[in-house]
Amino acid sequence: MTSIAVPPSAPEHTGSRLTRVLGAATAVSWVVWLTYGLVLSPADVVQSESVRLFYLHVPLALSAYLGFTVTLVGSILVLRKNSAFWDQMAGAGAEVGLVLAGLVLVTGALWGRPTWGTYWVWDPRITATTLLFLVYLGYLVVRRLDLDAEVRARRAAVFGIVAFINVPITRYSVQIWNSLHQEATLSLTDTEMDGSQLTSFALGAIAMALFTTWLIIHRFRVGWLEYELDRSGLESAILERRGERTATEVV
C-alpha cells in the first residue's frame, strides 16, 4: 500500500470566514428570492405561472457566464505568470460554469414546452448554448489528460481562452440570427418587464451570483489541496529515498 502524504499545513476543510459569510449571505438571498419570486410575485399575463422559470433560467445563464469569465481570467494569468493558483481557479470556474450551463439547457427545455410547444428545437440560442456546454466539457477533459502538469496547464489555458469566444456568441445569438428564443428582455436603456417581475429577476441574479462565487471558491480550494497533496507527495518520496541512500551508505 502506498501511504498518502498529507501536507502538514493542510486545513481539515475548505471553509473560511470569507466562505462562511458568503454562504450565509447566499442562504438569506435564496430564501428572499424563492419566497418573492415563487410565492409572492404575481404570474405573467401571457405565460401565467411558467414565468417563474425565467427567474431561475436567466440568473443560471448569467452565473454560467461568470464561471467562464473566471476561467478566461485564470487562463490568461496561467500563460502570463505560469501560475498553478490561477490554473486551479480557471478549472474551478469552468466546472461550476459547466454545471450551470447544463441547468440552463434543462430549465430552458422545461420553459419551452408550455410556451413554444416543444422541449427542444435547434434555434440559434439553444444551439449556441449546447456548443458552449460541449466546448467547456472539452476544456475539463483537457485538464485531465496525462501530460506534464505545466504542459497540461498551458494547453488548458489556451483552450480556456479560445472557448470564451462562445460566450458573447451565445449571448448575442438572438440578435445576430433569426431565433425562436426571444431577444434580451433586460438592457441598460430599455427593460420590457413590470416592476415585481424585475425585482424577482434581480433577486435571482444576486442569489445565483453569490452561490456561484461560493461554489467556485470551495472548488478552487479542493483543487488547490489536491495540487498541494501531489506536490508534497513528490517531496516526501524524494526525502524518503534520500533517507534510504544515507542509511545504505552508513551500513
Binding site: M1, T2, S41, P42, A43, D44, V45, V46, Q47, V51, F54, R113, P114, T115, W116, G117, T118, V121, W122, D123, P124, I126, T127, A128, T130, L131, L134, V135, L137, G138, V141, V142, R144, L145, D146, W177, N178, S179, L180, Q182, E183, A184, T185, E192, M193, D194, G195, S196, Q197, A237, I238, R241, R242, R245
Partner: protein
C-alpha cells in the same frame, strides 16, 4: 527486466527518482486512464462538430419572415422550412381537424393549413408564431408544427393593483 532496471540506475550523487513497481498495487496503469481521457476528448470533439453542422445548416436560418418567404416562394419550391409571422385571424377548425388561420409580417400575409400537433396554450390572435412546413401549389402553407414565439415583453397580472398599493403606502 533486470537489464531494464539497471539502465536507469544512478551513480555518484544522483538520486534514483524513477517510480517503483509494487506487486500489491492494483491501481490501473496511468496509460489506460490517459487513453480514456483522449477517447472522451474525441467524443466531445465529434459532438461539437455535429452541433456545428446543425448550427450551419439549420440554426443560422432558423426561419424566414412571411415577407421573405413569399419573396422566395419559387426558390423554396416544396422544400420544408420555417416561417414567422403574427397570427392575424381567428382559427377555424376544418372537418378533418386541420387548423386554418393567417399570419402576417411587415404588411404581407400567408394562409396556413396546419395538420400537425396542437400548438401551445399561448396560441392566439396577435401572438408571433413560427410554422414549419412547405408551400403548396395552390399558394397556402401546409404546416406540420407550430412554435409560439414569445416576445421579450413581460407583464405581471394585476401589476396596476400592485402599483396602486405601493402608491397608497407612499401617500
Amino acid at each position: 527486466m533486470t537489464d531494464h532496471h539497471d539502465e536507469g540506475a544512478t551513480s555518484g550523487d544522483e538520486l534514483d527518482l524513477r517510480p517503483r513497481t509494487d506487486a500489491t498495487d492494483t491501481t490501473p496503469p496511468t496509460r489506460r486512464r490517459s487513453w480514456g481521457a483522449y477517447a472522451l476528448l474525441g467524443l466531445v470533439g465529434v459532438a461539437i462538430v455535429a452541433v456545428l453542422g446543425i448550427a450551419l445548416t439549420q440554426a443560422t436560418v432558423f426561419f424566414y419572415n412571411v415577407d421573405e418567404a413569399l419573396e422566395r416562394q419559387a426558390e423554396l419550391g416544396d422544400d420544408t422550412f420555417r416561417m414567422q409571422g403574427s397570427v392575424v385571424t381567428e382559427t377555424e377548425v376544418r372537418d378533418d381537424g386541420a387548423l386554418l388561420f393567417t399570419i402576417g409580417f411587415d404588411g404581407e400575409q400567408a394562409d396556413i393549413v396546419h395538420v400537425g400537433d396542437e400548438p401551445s396554450d399561448l396560441f392566439e390572435v396577435g401572438i408571433p408564431v413560427v410554422v414549419q412546413g412547405r408551400w403548396e401549389t395552390d399558394g397556402h402553407f401546409l404546416s406540420e408544427q407550430i412554435l409560439v414565439k414569445h416576445s421579450e415583453t413581460y407583464e405581471a397580472e394585476n401589476q396596476d393593483r400592485l402599483d396602486d398599493a405601493y402608491d397608497g403606502a407612499d401617500g
